[in-house]
Symmetry: C2
Subunit: 546 residues, 2 copies
């Protein structure tokens, strides 16, 4: 598949360089006018709180950011539009400057796609000419924010569901725009889902797709006369077609007797729908069984058709429940399967899947344990109901080699100045326990050597820690117009996510009230912050009275 090509084309259309805030252009102009547009500058991208009240996040969106940087260029049409919206005093030479811009002078250092990350750690460092790196802000934020959020949300569903249960993403219809749906399919897969209902996501990213039928299919049938053909050949290839309608009717009366159901309450249209589907796809029989009544009709119709399929050598897959109390229903359904399996000696009925798809909302591991194998999640997964935005920000930390800092009245909104390095410190058991943010010029921490640092949470006091191992968290990903790390496929990134989540200590993975992970500043960086706050370093001098 031409995935790479399709994605590069798609990024140009999804994220043209005008898909940004107007103020990026007014600022770029003011820099250009003051002759500062080429000054070397460094921005950092981070978020301030782990999402969903959790203890960690996954970083995602890097791949799209790289494609965006590579394709960043203003067309003639773009520039003419800018000419029409910027104030008329704008110097025409500025538009010529825009027309010639690209990202060949930009360098991006980033944590890898799918990395486990924490609040306040600078995830991306974007350096290059001041005006250019400023212009990139909104697009990079837009590409990272939702991708990371929905990937993290998926990882939480995976943690809640345990490693074995199959998880299906099916949120396209409720997503925030078509691209929201596509992004959700991609990054929920990376975050730990197994399947998506979204065919385009299968096409573009190679994600396994799944789905069988909706209620409309069931309610579109009225009677068994609509079933066509009325026969099916056995799985063993015996060329004589079998009258599957009669076969099913026979099974239906036996099932009604076994499950003590009233044959008079069975819906004929539902049976016709199940039969039609089974005849079309005998190896993929997984109907939705709650269009009328699960207990009085859907379950019985499923068992009858399923047993007929078994008799013909096919293995039915299972059922889907989409309304009412899924837990209660799944118990009844599982009981029905077990009775059929035992009574008719059909072991295939022991391994049937129950798919639950009604407003699924995991809380803790213990919940919903009654659903065997597959859970389909839509709205809550893709729109991230609990917190629909991650709140990544992009802050200036250095210009012309000088550290820059925003000192807000709102302490939460202050930034940490200077070009940095980020290290992950790992304990003797192999669990990460602290992310150290230091100045890029400092020497890296060493395994086995104690170091003193300042955790961000408890403002003033320092702690001493000794890492058993140290890893450098960020790598160069884009430089001199080239992507310097070849991107991974969605499946490769997904595997990395799961293995890196495994190293995280369970106390940070609790879905509710996790222990918070420590992010700390090096002593030198801490001192720089203190100096700038005091005004004793050249961030913005106080203007002396004149």
């Amino acid at each position: 598949r031409n995935t790479c090509w399709a994605m590069e084309r798609s990024i140009r259309e999804r994220v043209p360089p005008l898909l940004t805030d107007l103020y990026q252009f007014t600022m770029a102009y003011a820099y250009w006018r003051a002759g500062r547009h080429q000054e070397p500058a460094v921005f950092e991208l981070f978020f301030r709180d782990n999402p969903f009240g959790g203890g960690f996040s996954l970083f995602a969106g890097l791949h799209d950011c790289l494609l965006f940087l590579r394709s960043f260029r203003f067309t003639h049409e773009d520039v003419e539009f800018l000419r029409s919206v910027l104030p008329p005093v704008t110097d025409p030479a500025f538009f010529k400057f825009l027309r010639e811009l690209d990202c060949s002078a930009v360098t991006l250092r980033s944590v890898p796609e799918g990395a486990v990350v924490f609040a306040r750690v600078p995830l991306m460092e974007v350096s290059g000419p001041l005006a250019v790196v400023q212009l990139l802000e909104t697009s990079l934020l837009c590409l990272v924010n939702y991708a990371s959020l929905v990937c993290s949300n998926a990882a939480r569903f995976r943690l809640a569901a345990g490693p074995k249960r199959k998880l299906l993403e099916m949120g396209l219809r409720r997503a925030q725009g078509p691209d929201g749906g596509l992004t959700a399919s991609r990054y929920t897969y990376i975050g730990g889902f197994d399947l998506t209902s979204n065919v385009q996501a299968g096409f573009l990213f190679g994600i396994p797709v799944a789905g069988t039928m909706a209620h409309s299919f069931v309610t579109s049938f009225t009677s068994l006369e609509e079933v066509w053909p009325q026969t099916l050949v056995a799985a063993n290839g015996d060329p004589d077609p079998v009258d599957i309608i009669s076969l099913t009717k026979g099974w239906l009366s036996r099932v009604c007797e076994l499950l003590e159901a009233q044959p008079g309450k069975i819906r004929e249209g539902e049976l016709a729908a199940f039969l039609s589907y089974a005849i079309a796809y005998p190896q993929n029989f997984l109907p939705v069984i709650d269009s009328y009544s699960v207990g009085c009709s859907g379950l019985l119709n499923f068992c009858a058709v399923g047993l007929a399929l078994c008799e013909l050598g096919y293995q039915p897959v299972g059922v889907r429940l989409d309304s009412g109390d899924l837990c209660r229903q799944s118990v009844d359904v599982r009981r029905g399967f077990r009775l059929c399996s035992e009574h008719f000696s059909i072991p295939a009925f022991d391994s049937l899947t129950i798919v639950g798809t009604n407003n699924i909302y995991f809380c803790e591991k213990s919940d919903n344990s009654l659903f065997k194998f597959t859970v389909g999640v839509g709205t809550h997964l893709v729109t991230c109901t609990k917190q629909p935005s991650l709140g990544c920000v992009y802050k200036l930390v250095e210009v012309r080699g000088n550290p820059r800092m925003k000192i807000s009245e709102d302490p939460e909104k202050s930034t940490v100045p200077g070009r940095k390095a980020v290290y992950r410190l790992i304990d003797a058991e192999g669990h990460p326990f602290l992310d150290l943010v230091s100045l890029a010029v400092e020497s890296p921490p060493e395994a086995g050597v104690p170091l003193s640092c300042y955790p961000l949470a408890c403002d003033k006091s320092s702690v001493s820690v000794t890492p058993a191992q140290v890893t450098c968290l960020r790598q160069e990903a884009y430089s001199k117009g080239q992507v310097t790390h070849p991107p991974c496929s969605a499946a490769e990134t997904r595997a990395k996510v799961q293995s890196s989540l495994q190293t995280l200590h369970p106390r940070h993975k609790k879905l509710q009230k996790p222990d918070s992970y420590t992010v700390a500043l090096s002593e030198q960086l801490h001192n720089l912050v203190t100096e700038i706050r005091r005004g004793s370093t050249n961030n913005s001098n106080f203007l002396l009275a004149n």
Copy 2:
């Protein structure tokens, strides 16, 4: 601008026909296999609850749906991908059928773009060959769901803000994907916003764009030496450039004295940033003033530069506040402006704008009344924090002229069968008071003639009402491959939204605990529902014991 062309191209790329759930194809195949794919069928699109606990919603997304229908066609590549994911038993002739499909046999009746609508009213009716109208489900839902949600959210912000205050949408960076950002800009404008920060939305939809500077611009400056050029010519065209730095310094000491501020706490970098911006765009001076301290630095620097601009004949625009307690700060800032205006006799300082942009969240009209003129809203507006999904559904209501109904164990999830007409009943004061859903074959209600109907809320009992006027809510929008209603521009739709919201009685527009609007079934439709529930009409007969 080539808006129409760009949008049609864009819909093909944003919503290719594979951007749907896999089960649409497995169902289409089962229909095709049973020879039912050409049976005439009718689906309806509606939502079950008004969003945000409100009393109404706005319907949006129609325009994109029409472009989607017009461009709906599978490419060779699409079909080959489907061949690879559908079960291997799928008859090859089915793929030939898909390759030739289009929407020329589909008819869409819809409420107009931007209409005020209510829960459970069928907003769109999609009729055509069963397999085709089934295939359209996910895409139509995806296009309507978020557009209507974010448009309704914007209308609530507008109601809270009152008709005069300027509202700026600036949520792109926090949106759920790039397309979520673009859709938000477009539909929040239609819902009542005035401006967007999103340049691409300006380009594609002609929405007015706005924005000036971020904190990074301010913190990138260190000293007045970075200001270049250091002069500005007066607005009257006098060719002698004025030394605006000296001029501003003079104003700064006067302002410090007037506002009893300490000159020693003024940040030089901030002043340099303001000056650089003012020199670049003297007519558009609206800096962000909270990079260090509003009261100790930002306000004073703004007043100094602003007064210098006034002296040169320019009109400064205002300031932006982006952190801390915006209400308190805006009072202080307004007081500073008034003192300058009075003391220096500069009336321009009375009409300065204060823009507030920190996590804005309107509740009721009385709130936030201190912000004069402009409020910028991002995250809460575009991601619809309070309820990030509308939950539109698409349900089968008729096949081959026979009404279809899903009878769920969950009464909320049951559907209303049959092909319908929808009328809005208006009272003597011109306020809509009831939406009547009747069967399409019934004669329409008449002004002045009493009628009996069954409100959906109070299940069983009927009410008698007499409309002063009756309007038909839906119109044909697409038929025989053609869009039958030419689309309106975003600005035209926006104007219609505001005027139709005006006719809605205030009791339904309350943001909290509104009076609920009545949606009722006609007597004939009510009877049909009752019959089908009883099983006495041919929806799905009960299968008699055999």
